[in-house]
Subunit: 159 residues, 2 copies
């Protein structure tokens, strides 16, 4: 309420409305002096004044007071399954010490390729792939390719 009054005072149009009220009062005063108002029933006169000024008050309030705004916040939950998540953990790769080439081999391993197939894919010999594999197992501290794939996926160093 205090705030509303403060707004009312601050408002640029306040003068206009104040003037309107003054004019109304003056017009009543004029009616009072120039017509024989008292011939009419005084309570009717007062009643009409009350009505007019009530309407004026309502009009004033509606014009001046900034409308109340109730803000309703509705939380809409958006489920994101995984937006191409599973970002490869570069940190873990470096921590494990796995080289680029070994990572390639590991990736193909995870796809289910045999050493022979990996060798053909990378244009190297079977022995090379075996060496890479062994090094991978050492670095991941596992014994088998299946374990390597399992651990690599856990560490997010592949896929």
């Amino acid at each position: 309420m205090i705030k509303s009054l403060a707004q009312l005072v601050r408002n640029k149009e306040t003068l206009l409305y104040a003037t309107a009220m003054a004019v109304l009062l003056l017009s009543f005063k004029w009616l009072e002096t120039h017509f024989i108002v008292y011939n009419y029933r005084l309570d009717i006169f007062i009643g009409s004044i009350a009505t007019v000024f009530t309407v004026l008050g309502i009009w004033l309030a509606l014009k001046l007071v900034k409308p109340k705004v109730e803000v309703h916040l509705i939380e809409k939950e958006i489920f994101i399954t995984h937006p191409a998540q599973s970002k490869i953990n570069q940190v873990e790769i470096e921590k494990s010490g796995i080289s680029k080439r070994e990572l390639e081999v590991l990736g193909l391993m995870a796809q289910g390729l045999s050493n022979e197939e990996i060798a053909k894919r990378l244009f190297v010999s079977l022995n090379t792939v075996k060496t890479h594999s062994s090094n991978i197992f050492l670095k991941l501290e596992v014994k088998r390719r299946t374990q390597a794939v399992s651990k690599a996926k856990q560490l997010n160093i592949i896929e």
Copy 2:
């Protein structure tokens, strides 16, 4: 404005406010008859009535006008990592024809266990695990355990 009036009529509290206005009017009437109001300056009397009813009007308007409702949608993003998701696709399991026991073996396979380790875990012989493995490969139409794991994860029949 029309809408506001309609609200005003509908409002349950309207009677209260109407009563308040009636009481005010009656009190003025009472003042009029029981005191010699006319001894005072009539314009002061009218002015106070105007002021009172202006305030009443303002108060009425402030009380009765329903606030505007602004609805704000807040989109709350919920990321689902993959512990909760990745529900096992029962349909694909049945489609592949993989039995319960074979599924067990497949699961341990995916964890990187060797046939020997699986055998010990399941309290069966190595040969049994081999048989299960072979059947799994047939049913998944793959050649190696690594491929089996890869395909099984694609089909969501494990994990």
